[in-house]
């Protein structure tokens, strides 16, 4: 790993702060020995605590002075790099990456939503136009003899067929809605992973459900057999076969 100059400056400043605090602890030692308690063991304990606090301050100072994520991949430049402090310092960078990943997911959701809405509007316009043509055709067949009866009948059938096919728009729309909902779940999951990395001490951030549970939720949300078979094929597993009866009466 390479350490950038500003990171090295931060290290120097933080070590200086730590030395200052440790020195203060050392100077305070006889004062404590005299003023606070005559017990040598307690005084030594207080001094040790102060030294540990100094090192904790050294970490804090390092993080404050180093600013943001300045570590890049590569070979070590020198041996005195504090790896633990570097990892601590990397967290804001990871947080930023997670934030951008979630923005990325949100953009995908919005784009899909827009596609669904645009497709829906286009389908409604098309259906309206087809109905108008059908009405015009009916009037023409009734009032004039511009078209032979069998020709107008055939066109009318084709228009009805086109109206039937417009129903596919609804299927596509529902599938897009499914994908949007799955992306939203993935977004929430990404947020949980980020929270787990940033705040490992918080219990809720550790209770992350397995990805297989997310996949099961996705499977349960499907609204058509086609979606289920795509899912099964992607996971290379055998799907239960269903009788493909399009119409059933009870």
């Amino acid at each position: 790993m390479n350490i950038t100059p500003s990171l090295r400056q931060a290290q120097v400043i933080s070590i200086f702060v730590a030395v200052l605090l440790a020195g203060s602890a050392y100077v305070m030692h006889p004062m404590l020995n005299y003023a606070v308690t005559p017990d040598r063991e307690i005084t030594a304990g207080v001094t040790l605590t102060l030294i540990l606090l100094a090192f904790a301050f050294r970490h804090a100072a390092f993080r404050i002075f180093s600013g943001q994520f300045l570590i890049s991949q590569g070979q070590p430049e020198n041996g005195d790099v504090d790896q633990a402090a570097m990892r601590l310092d990397a967290l804001p960078g990871i947080e930023r990456e997670f934030h951008q990943l979630r923005q990325f997911l949100e953009i995908l959701c919005r784009q899909l939503q827009n596609s669904a809405e645009t497709g829906d509007k286009a389908a409604i316009h098309l259906a309206t136009d087809l109905l108008e043509i059908d009405k015009a055709l009916f009037r023409s067949a009734r009032d004039t003899s511009a078209l032979p009866a069998d020709t107008s009948g055939r066109i009318s059938e084709q228009l009805a067929d086109a109206l039937t096919r417009i129903q596919y728009q609804d299927t596509v729309n529902q599938q897009i809605t499914n994908v949007i909902q799955a992306l939203e779940r993935l977004d929430a999951y990404t947020g949980q992973i980020a929270a787990g990395i940033m705040h490992p001490e918080i219990e809720t951030s550790r209770s992350l459900k397995p990805v297989s549970a997310l996949l099961d939720e996705l499977y349960d949300s499907y609204i058509s057999e086609q979606q289920r078979s795509i899912h099964d094929a992607s996971l290379k597993r055998t799907a239960p076969s269903f009788a493909d009866s399009r119409t059933e009466l009870y």
């Binding site: 009805a160 109206l163 493909d244 059933e248 009870y250």
Partner: protein, 117 residues
């Protein structure tokens, strides 16, 4: 009555039914459909989607079946769903039949004739 949250479906199916001579009462969701039932709209057949925002199709027919005048009215599902478990759930709730979208005019009209007989 035709219940579907998709404007495209309401338009295309109602045009097929109107052309065949049926009067179609449309509702964009289950709640709206229930309002129409409770307001005394006369309905001989209910065709409903399954997956809708808010109340779904199965919940709708459970509600409709509690209304004394509609205990025996034919109810058809028109949906992209074809899962057997869902069909059984619908049947238990009081559905008379199931049509998978997209339905052709013939499929739709033949099924309607059968359930209205």
């Amino acid at each position: 009555m035709l219940v579907d949250d998709s404007a495209t479906i309401l338009l295309s199916i109602s045009s097929i039914l109107s052309k065949a001579g049926y009067t179609v009462e449309k509702a964009p969701n289950a709640e709206e459909a229930l309002k129409k039932f409770n307001n005394g709209t006369r309905v001989d057949l209910l065709i409903t989607d399954l997956n809708m925002p808010g109340m779904n199709g199965i919940e709708l027919i459970r509600e409709v079946r509690t209304l004394p005048s509609y205990k025996f009215m034919p109810i058809l599902f028109l949906t992209t769903e074809s899962q057997q478990a869902r069909k059984m759930e619908a049947k238990a709730a009081g559905a008379s039949g199931w049509i998978v979208k997209p339905a052709t005019a013939d499929e739709l009209l033949n099924t309607i004739k059968l359930v209205l007989r």
